[in-house]
């Protein structure tokens, strides 16, 4: 591997880190249109959790970018919780693959602050991301949100995590 290639890979990793952080910030700001633009045209999004009660993994949400767009469009019509969320995300690893793809694993914690100003830990889990693109154009091809938290104060509802 050449020094040039190493530098390119380093830049790609930093872009992916930036994408993961930015996606969290966009969710916290409620900028769902910007968040959605982080997915490529074939982008998929799922939220899964393991149930020890029935000894299997469950998919609580499994949809495409178009499906997400529809859900987010509906959101103003739904009765939703009046609280703010704040993501803290930590990169565990990024693996560069052939053909302009990469995978990334990160841990996240979401805090929630209600209208009275009370803050509590809301959810703990990890992002398993498959990314596509290249310099300046990394996007999520698939984001898998694996939740460790299963007992929620208020359910996530249709608001992405």
């Amino acid at each position: 591997m050449t020094l040039h290639a190493d530098a390119g890979e380093g830049a790609a990793r930093e872009e992916i880190r930036e994408l993961i952080r930015r996606a969290c910030w966009q969710l916290d700001q409620g900028d769902f249109a910007a968040w959605l633009s982080n997915f490529d045209d074939e982008g998929r999004y799922e939220i899964v959790a393991y149930s020890p009660e029935i000894r299997r993994e469950m998919r609580w949400l499994n949809t495409s970018r178009e499906g997400l767009k529809q859900l987010l469009k509906e959101m103003p019509n739904h009765v939703t919780e009046d609280a703010r969320r704040a993501h803290m995300v930590m990169e565990i690893g990024i693996e560069m693959k052939e053909g302009g793809e990469a995978s990334a694993l990160s841990r996240f914690v979401v805090f929630k602050t209600n209208q009275r100003g009370e803050t509590a830990v809301y959810a703990v889990g990890r992002y398993e991301d498959l990314l596509s693109g290249g310099v300046g154009s990394w996007r999520f091809r698939a984001r898998r949100v694996l939740l460790e938290t299963r007992m929620f104060d208020v359910f996530p509802h249709i608001i992405p995590l």
Binding site: I54, R56, M58, P156
Partner: protein, 394 residues
């Protein structure tokens, strides 16, 4: 002078409730004894204990229980408490075991609760100790259509009699093919258990849900059916056709569950806390574990056909989670509604609930709730509209 309206609504006494039935601690304790400890309670599905040695822990009215299946495939329900020092025997939600061993002093029990051996038995010689005297207490267990029910009372009628004809509403759907739970989630909602039950049982609040305004209420047959009431407080409403596509969801025609019609939606309420909600391709079952007047553990199960192809299972998952589940459109709305309702009630801001809708038992008639609270009153020995009649007002 208090501005809180304490005078009853000017309707028949059957048509309103005193909201203290949702908030009062003494009534809550009474409900545990007079209702939950007396009736048959749905606790899990048979698929949660499918094979020999499988067990599943459940809570019922403050009682920790273990549902087990022995090597002869017989189901048992026993207390999850060691007769020695009261220790919890099983600490996991489910598992498989040849026997149950208390981790504290290693007393060992059969899956039916029989005490098999104790550690260092010589210490009990000379005190008249007999293994037979220290078996884990059993409770009654029975199944119908794969649903496991337990009853803490020895005098209560058999399960089939307790349920009666309401089973007809789900017998074919749940009972004619091997079924399994493939989604399970739970939450502690800050509300009274009956408010969640009411939310499940009344269809007037369909207007609250954006999705249901665009699907359920656009189906031609939604209003063209009636509630049916059964002995012991059970009730059900037959299947209506729902305009799923109008709400941007899949049509529900292919891979329907047995006995359902395309794009259907039916509801069966089993007294006191269980709901069978069927939408053609998927069943959702709710059960409740009342923790305090204002806290309720709610369990949801998504049920489909066992052993079906992956793509069919994926379709059922989607049909369930499009509407329900922690990330679905409706459950959070119901949660917010019932929690804020309880906050207002517990502050004493509203003394009465009005159940006065009469539409010839059409879906938005409150008749099923009136029948439910008549049964509640019968079992509690006090009417739901005046639970403290004759006592000093609170």
């Amino acid at each position: 002078m208090s501005l809180i309206v304490k005078t009853p609504p000017r309707v028949a006494s059957t048509h309103y409730l005193d909201n203290r039935i949702f908030t009062d601690q003494s009534l809550f304790e009474e409900e545990r004894h007079k209702i939950f400890e007396k009736v048959w309670n749905f606790v899990c599905h048979e698929s949660e204990v499918p094979g020999p040695g499988d067990y599943r822990t459940v809570q019922l009215a403050g009682h920790p229980l273990i549902i087990t299946r022995d090597r002869d495939l017989q189901l048992h329900a026993i207390y999850n408490s060691c007769p020695h020092r009261g220790q919890r025997i099983v600490r996991k939600e489910c598992g498989t075991a040849r026997s149950l061993q208390c981790f504290y002093h290693l007393w060992n029990f059969g899956l039916d609760g029989t005490l098999r051996q104790v550690t260092r038995p010589q210490g009990y010689q000379g005190v008249g100790f007999d293994l037979k005297d220290y078996c884990i207490p059993r409770v009654r267990v029975d199944t119908i259509c794969g649903l496991v029910f337990v009853c803490l009372d020895t005098e209560t009628e058999p399960l089939a009699d307790f349920l009666g004809d309401v089973v007809g509403h789900f017998r074919e759907t749940l009972g004619s093919a091997p079924m399994e739970v493939f989604i399970f989630h739970q939450a502690v909602f800050k509300t009274n258990w009956k408010l969640w039950n009411d939310n499940n049982s009344e269809l007037y609040h369909e207007y609250m849900h954006y999705l249901n305004r665009n699907t359920n209420l656009k189906g031609e047959s939604f209003f063209n059916r009636t509630w049916r009431m059964y002995r012991n407080g059970h009730n059900a409403v037959a299947e209506a056709e729902v305009a799923y596509e109008a709400g941007g969801l899949d049509n529900r025609d292919a891979n329907r569950l047995p006995g359902t019609r395309p794009n259907g939606f039916s509801l069966t309420n089993i007294f006191p806390d269980t709901v069978v909600n069927c939408r053609s391709t998927i069943i959702r079952m709710d059960r409740m574990v009342p923790l305090s007047p204002g806290r309720t553990l709610i369990e949801w199960r998504g049920i489909g056909i066992k052993g079906e192809p992956d793509e069919v299972r994926a379709m059922r998952e989607r049909h369930f989670t499009d509407i329900w589940g922690p990330c679905g459109r409706n459950i959070t709305e119901d949660q917010i509604a019932t929690e804020t309702q309880w906050i207002a009630m517990s502050a004493g801001a509203a003394r009465h609930t009005v159940l006065a809708r009469e539409e010839n038992l059409r879906p938005m008639d409150d008749g099923n709730l009136r029948a439910y609270y008549a049964e509640w009153g019968r079992r509690m020995g006090r009417p739901a509209h005046a639970p403290f009649a004759g006592e000093l007002p609170r």
